[in-house]
Symmetry: C2
């Protein structure tokens, strides 16, 4: 298996990505994996020299010199001008069938646009969805879309439900995940016409375990395994949750510093806070697949560190080892039954 890595992407560039590979190799058997590294050869070599050869992994370097896609670059600009950059070449490697998956922590819009243009989407899919995993009170929940598809027809929402099911199979190891549609109330009369149409289809489908409308509280309640929503609401939910977490952590930190008692108290509870951070830290849930492409493309957080990047590698490897793309194609053809059923009823 070959994993193409945009070494230069993200706020920390090679520091995070190379550390991430080391970390992944330390915790996993890498005997069947070859890392295709795209970036500045000097920087990559120097980083590997720094870290030493304490852990074993195989790799090849594709020197892209100082050519990178900048974080501020517009996707349309990147589409025309990014040939030769670490991101473009890494995505091309997968698109050309030379690697099995690609990972980048770089500019999300540009990476999405390049993945779409170079790899292409599965038939019936207009634009891939961004999928991520959230911790909940009993386990984990998958949510999609998180920002690629701002406005969603019922057909797109139905596709997301089926695609989410294929992701849950690999990442949550669930064969019959419970699927909910995000709405502003659980009553059937609530929401937009797209939601109503998607509800009507999913309710009748024998291919999904649809539980109905769910609300924002259910992202972390554990009442559902997959939450389907349009990219606007999904992104707002994701970022509202990040903000809340940041707010609470800051509030508690200030509090712990406020007296000798609370400093001692913090010391005694430290382990709990550590485990909270481990569980909800976006880095520990890093690696958001772009689902609906013909190959595996994984987006890692822009501010990802080595731990985060190792998690993204693990997502890429698990998807590449499974029959993920085949499953997605099958799922999409089931979702497409919507249109054929509709034609029949006309």
């Amino acid at each position: 298996m070959k994993i193409a890595i945009d070494v230069m992407g993200g706020d920390l560039g090679a520091v995070a990505t190379i550390s991430g590979i080391y970390r992944y190799a330390l915790e996993n058997d890498c005997s069947g994996i070859f890392f295709e590294l795209f970036g500045n050869e000097k920087i990559i070599t120097s980083r590997i020299t720094d870290l030493g050869r304490s852990t074993a992994f195989s790799y090849g370097i594709h020197d892209t010199a100082d050519n990178v896609v900048l974080g501020s670059e517009k996707p349309t600009h990147a589409l025309k001008n990014s040939r030769g950059t670490s991101m473009f070449e890494a995505v091309s490697h997968v698109a050309n069938g030379k690697s099995d998956a690609v990972i980048s922590s770089g500019n999300t819009g540009a990476y999405m646009a390049l993945s779409k243009m170079l790899i292409g989407t599965i038939e019936g899919i207009d634009r891939p969805a961004i999928v991520s995993v959230f911790p909940n009170l009993n386990g984990k929940t998958i949510m999609l879309d998180l920002g690629a598809n701002t406005d969603c027809s019922s057909t797109k929402l139905i596709q997301f439900a089926f695609m989410g099911q294929a992701v849950a199979k690999v990442l949550l190891r669930l064969n019959n995940p419970r699927i909910g549609l995000l709405n502003i109330g659980t009553e059937r009369s609530k929401g937009t016409s797209s939601l109503e149409e998607a509800y009507n289809f999913l309710e009748k489908s024998n291919n999904v375990n649809f539980i109905g409308f769910v609300e924002g509280t259910d992202i972390t309640s554990g009442a559902v395994d997959i939450i389907v929503t349009d990219g606007f609401s999904g992104n707002v939910a994701l970022k509202s949750m990040e903000g809340t977490l940041r707010y609470i952590v800051n509030f508690l930190k200030d509090g712990f510093r406020s007296s000798a008692f609370s400093k001692v108290g913090y010391f005694l509870c430290k382990k709990i806070f550590g485990s909270l951070t481990n569980t909800i830290d976006p880095m520990r849930n890093n690696g958001a697949p772009f689902v609906g492409l013909k190959k595996i493309s994984i987006k890692s957080h822009g501010n990802s560190d080595g731990i985060g990047f190792a998690t993204a590698i693990s997502v890429a490897v698990r998807l590449a080892r499974s029959e993920f793309i085949k499953n997605i194609e099958e799922m999409i053809s089931k979702a497409d039954e919507k249109d054929s059923n509709e034609s029949k009823s006309c």
Copy 2:
């Protein structure tokens, strides 16, 4: 000043509402306030007898016997069949100019529908917006709409910005609040056409302090005082945040119970957790005005306790003491300049 109260509304009914009045009276000067209590007279009298006359407040009881709007009732049903209920009569009292504000913890959809039908909306407003206050790292943020207007044209978003400004004047005591439009990125090219149009208008307006697009993280970051969004995204954000808070609190509680060390640690930090709860507890930020009505109508959380209801009373009193409705009318006429400007440019 007269405040009409739907005593029977909410999960706890009279237990919470009457306790809320006592609590409010304990902490505030009630000499100028008369509470008009709508509900079952026997229950109200018995609850007041239980609590004693330790605190002073003036009130009158309007007996509505056992007639209530149920939590499960559809708004359309309530519109036709709720005459004689505690909610209907309380809203009517304000609509008829006999009270200055109304508060209910009852069925949100029914209360919104009755408020709209009986009180009516300010000219130019189609449907009121639900406004709430959120704590942020430096103070408080107001967000609207939280669920009444699922789909929003640019005109509505612009109205929300102006209405939010009038609310911030009273509830946050800010004369020139920073206003942001909720989007999935801060770049100008992001988002829907409604957002783009609202951006173009607000950017040029001399009547608002518009800072541009903001993201979900900014609800709690303190970078902005008012967040304007459609009711769907606002509701998703609100509930995602509630869910995250619940998740973190549950996680920490389980952790604190896990060992003798952490139990002691919790004891030493207890004050900090208490103050976190006080700050972010929805009850402490209870009382969501329906803005855009001709009179003041305040929605209290369905599961509100006495503390929460007292907060909702305080919101009602502060709005009723200010020139809130007049300010909103002025603001709406400024927002309407959008349409006249547009006509001019045609």
